[in-house]
């Protein structure tokens, strides 16, 4: 079908005021927070499941790629239309919280709801949706589902998939189905588990059922400063070994501390090798005792200083700084490339040492901000995209870091997804048979490869097995 005809048909579905086709608009949907680029053919703003279903049918019949997008804060190229097609924008009209059921601890949301918007609404009832991706101020629930997002609190509470119980899905051919439900163990195949984290390649979620939890009575936030990264990493291992389950165990290395301090100016020591941000939550009774034990472990492992946030304002400050850490590195150098390889906790010191060596080898600066509790690294490789030679070195370094993660028994992504960025690294982890199994599943849901094509797994086998990371 000609593009003109396609637009005509789309206009019949959503009305022409909800279609964007100008060059300015197309450019504005050609990026996310990664380095991947790709321009769509048009942007469509649906307002109901029925509209999404009709658009999917149209795309299916005409073999046009369909890419769902929230706010575009993805770090792996998830919503970037690398093969053109129709971008379905959920934020303007599919952004309602449909149901808040406090006694049963369930909510139902549309995909364009902002994560923090949901949390703020739940706070009025003293409730929480636990996962807390650093981008929660801007990320959408649809995006969280697609990427199976993590966050600092996931150490204790699990990642997004542990909080999504069901969904209304539009399939590639426009069929509308319901998977999962409000109960914890739903009959049949665990399709909601399959779709969560599928990066928009299997189906489009139009309604999402989530579990929520009451807010904890007490919170203690500790900040420990270290003169070596090893001491910090050993502290993490020892805390976990002790049987305590802090809600977060976050670590920043020297370069990350400097970046954060430059912008937020909260008095962090810029000469420290690393810091740990540790949070405990639960009933007030006993929290002080646990905090005391943690302070002891920190001191035993040579912490230079351990302090307890005195009030909510101090706590908020620390978290704002942590969650703005990626952005703050933008003050040191214009760009960064972040991988989120994950390694067993006990391998943290070794991995960090090797990451440092890779940085030296390729002469690139690397700042580390990571979820130490679950061994989820975020080495931020800093560079200036205008320097092409540096960019090439950055790509090589990034690939080697993922290699190291796999070598020590870890994996290539902890929460950001494969997207386009890590397609080339899949073969580090998966055998050809593993990859073919993924392809078979994809074919069942989307035989013509129209849902977010070019992400997660390439249907043309040879290109997924290239030994490099694809960035642009």
């Amino acid at each position: 079908m000609e593009k003109k005809q396609l637009l005509q048909k789309l206009a019949e579905i959503v009305g022409k005021d909800d279609i964007r086709t100008s060059e300015m608009q197309l450019q504005e949907y050609s990026y996310d927070a990664s380095l991947i680029k790709g321009k769509p053919d048009c942007i469509v703003i649906p307002e109901s499941t029925l509209e999404v279903s009709r658009i999917a049918r149209l795309a299916h019949e005409n073999h046009v790629p369909l890419i769902v997008r929230g706010t575009g804060s993805s770090l792996s190229g998830g919503p970037v239309p690398v093969r053109g097609g129709i971008v379905l924008l959920t934020t303007p009209k599919m952004n309602r919280i449909l149901e808040i059921d406090i006694p049963n601890q369930r909510v139902v949301v549309e995909p364009g709801v902002i994560t923090l918007q949901l949390k703020n609404e739940l706070a009025k009832y003293g409730y929480l949706y636990q996962p807390d991706p650093a981008s929660e101020k801007t990320s959408t629930m649809g995006g969280n589902l697609a990427e199976n997002s993590g966050g600092p609190l996931c150490f204790k509470y699990g990642v997004t998939t542990n909080h999504i119980l069901g969904a209304e899905l539009v399939l590639a051919d426009g069929e509308v189905i319901n998977v999962g439900g409000k109960s914890l163990d739903n009959p049949g195949l665990d399709l909601i588990g399959l779709v969560t984290g599928s990066e928009g390649t299997l189906a489009i979620a139009t309604k999402i059922i989530l579990r929520i939890m009451p807010k904890n009575e007490g919170v203690k936030t500790l900040l420990a400063i270290f003169d070596t990264v090893n001491d910090g990493a050993n502290t993490v291992s020892e805390i976990v070994k002790s049987g305590m389950v802090p809600s977060t165990l976050e670590m920043l290395d020297n370069l990350a501390i400097k970046a954060v301090e430059t912008f937020y100016k909260i008095g962090l020591p810029t000469d420290a090798a690393g810091l740990l941000l540790i949070e405990l939550d639960g009933l007030n009774d006993g929290l002080d005792r646990l905090a005391g034990q943690i302070i002891e472990i920190c001191k035993k492992n040579n912490a230079r200083e351990v302090s307890l946030a005195k009030n909510n304002a101090e706590r908020d400050q620390l978290w704002t700084a942590r969650k703005g850490a990626f952005g703050a590195t933008g003050r040191l150098r214009p760009n960064y490339l972040v991988n989120d390889g994950t390694v067993p906790r006990t391998k943290l010191p070794e991995t960090l040492r090797r990451v440092g060596e890779i940085g030296k080898k390729y002469n690139v600066e690397i700042a580390n901000v990571f979820h130490a509790g679950d061994g989820n690294l975020h080495p931020l490789i800093l560079f200036d995209e205008r320097d092409k030679d540096e960019l090439a070195r950055v790509h090589k370094a990034a690939f080697e870091i993922l290699q190291v993660c796999v070598e020590v028994g870890g994996t290539i992504t902890g929460e950001h997804g494969v997207g386009v960025e890590k397609l080339g690294a899949l073969s580090l982890l998966f055998s050809p048979a593993d990859l073919n199994a993924l392809r078979k599943i994809k074919r069942v849901f989307d035989p013509d490869d129209i849902l977010n094509p070019g992400k997660l797994i390439l249907m043309e086998s040879e290109s997924s097995e290239r030994k490099e990371v694809v960035y642009a």
Partner: protein, 434 residues
């Protein structure tokens, strides 16, 4: 046709520090209403990049977008972890956009008026004459000002502030503790004369000598953000020699927008124009830097010298007061605690903080006139938050916010400048002396 460069090198660097994280989006009042990329800051930075690198041609759509979806509130600048300043990019694109596609005759007239003393004064006289001769109602039925209700806009003052005060106002008695220049802006001169009187009264009572240069004009911000950088240059050149003086302790400003203009924007715009080959001298840039270092919002000055204030005796009727953070004060100048400190230090004030105190009021100068629908939605959030406090007074530090909020909020709530509350308290305290 070859496209002229949009930005100087320093401004262009902003483009390369945007990592597209999207953390600006939840802070942008326009994005929050529209939730499309074109409404938010990140989209504009990315379009600026493509324009600058020549991958995209400046279209009328882009020009219109840069005007219609930005309130200039600076929330994105204040909250960008990478330190990207969209405002300096915005100025460049609006400037070239206006050069390429022109500006509306209404805007041209408005800027000409703001830049010319006699035209401004004449139009004020005309407006007052018309109001009296035809009656407010008739005029109001003929004028449409976007989201603003004309019948709730306060009338122009019969006399301008400049006519009502001496050029140098001296403290009533005792030694002079400080000498300051007072930049009062157009709103105080023509509309809110009472704010200017309060500033002079409070400062002189503190023992401060206040110099009010009569030749001062518009700060230029509404003009240079509207793409008329050349006109703006003449305004900057009018103000610089009057205020860039190192023989004063401070330059006091009662208007958040004028303050951010003189403190932040003059340097930016002069540097940018000089880099782009316009006729701006290094001396002028140095003068702008000196001026910037002297600028102090009136609340900042008063709060840092609170011990100079006469004692305010307890007593009198309790009043419930809340405070609205003007974007150009809180986000552009970092003045947040000072006005609150002043209010809380007044014995008969019961201070109550509103939700979202630093959310934009939605006015954005002419934004509310040109784009009433979005503006009204943003203002509604603000007035709901104010009304929920049950305050009798909403204090703030910006005539623009005062106009917008007082136009939409429950009329029982009075919207006034922070310094006016202090002025009233000092008066009451003196009178209670007997």
């Amino acid at each position: 046709m070859e496209q002229k460069p949009f930005f100087g090198k320093e401004a262009a660097e902003n483009i390369y520090h945007c990592i597209r994280c999207g953390l600006c989006l939840p802070h942008c009042p326009v994005y929050r209403e529209m939730r499309e990329e074109s409404a938010g800051p990140r989209g504009k930075v990315q379009i600026s990049k493509r324009l600058y690198e020549g991958d995209l041609t400046l279209s009328e759509e882009i020009k219109d977008n840069y005007f219609s979806t930005c309130l200039l509130c600076g929330s994105c600048v204040a909250n960008c972890p990478s330190g990207v300043n969209l405002l300096s990019l915005l100025q460049g694109v609006r400037w070239r956009g206006v050069q390429k596609f022109g500006t509306s005759w209404k805007n041209r007239l408005e800027f000409k008026m703001l830049s010319t003393h006699w035209m401004m004064s004449a139009s004020v006289i005309m407006a007052e004459w018309a109001r009296r001769y035809f009656g407010g109602e008739w005029i109001e039925s003929k004028i449409h000002l976007g989201a603003l209700s004309v019948d709730r806009i306060p009338p122009f003052s019969e006399k301008t502030f400049t006519e009502m005060v001496p050029e140098v106002a001296e403290p009533p008695k005792g030694n002079v503790k400080a000498k300051v220049l007072y930049f009062h802006g157009c709103a105080t001169k023509y509309l809110n004369v009472g704010v200017g009187m309060a500033v002079v009264e409070v400062l002189t009572k503190m023992g401060v000598e206040v110099i009010i240069p009569k030749e001062q004009g518009c700060c230029g911000l509404p003009v240079f953000f509207s793409g008329e950088r050349k006109t703006a240059l003449s305004m900057i050149r009018n103000n610089l020699p009057l205020f860039a003086r190192d023989d004063v302790d401070a330059v006091i400003i009662d208007c958040a927008t004028c303050g951010s203009s003189l403190k932040n924007e003059y340097i930016h715009i002069l540097k940018d124009l000089r880099e782009l080959g316009e006729d701006v001298t290094a001396d002028e840039i140095r003068a702008a830097e000196l001026l910037s270092s002297k600028i102090q919002d009136v609340s900042l000055f008063i709060d840092s010298h609170r011990d100079w204030l006469p004692e305010i005796k307890p007593g009198g009727e309790k009043i419930r007061v809340t405070y609205h953070d003007p974007c150009h004060l809180a986000k552009a100048q970092g003045v947040r605690s000072q006005p609150r400190n002043i209010l809380k230090s007044i014995p008969n004030v019961e201070y109550i903080e509103m939700n979202g105190a630093d959310d934009c009021c939605g006015g954005g100068g002419s934004f509310q006139i040109d784009y009433p629908e979005i503006s009204a939605k943003i203002t509604k959030r603000k007035t709901d938050n104010i009304e929920a406090t049950n305050a009798q007074f909403c204090a703030t530090g910006c005539p623009g916010c005062m106009l917008t909020i007082s136009n939409h909020v429950d009329p029982a709530i009075k919207v006034i400048h922070t310094v006016q509350i202090l002025q009233q308290a000092l008066k009451r305290s003196e009178n209670s002396n007997g």
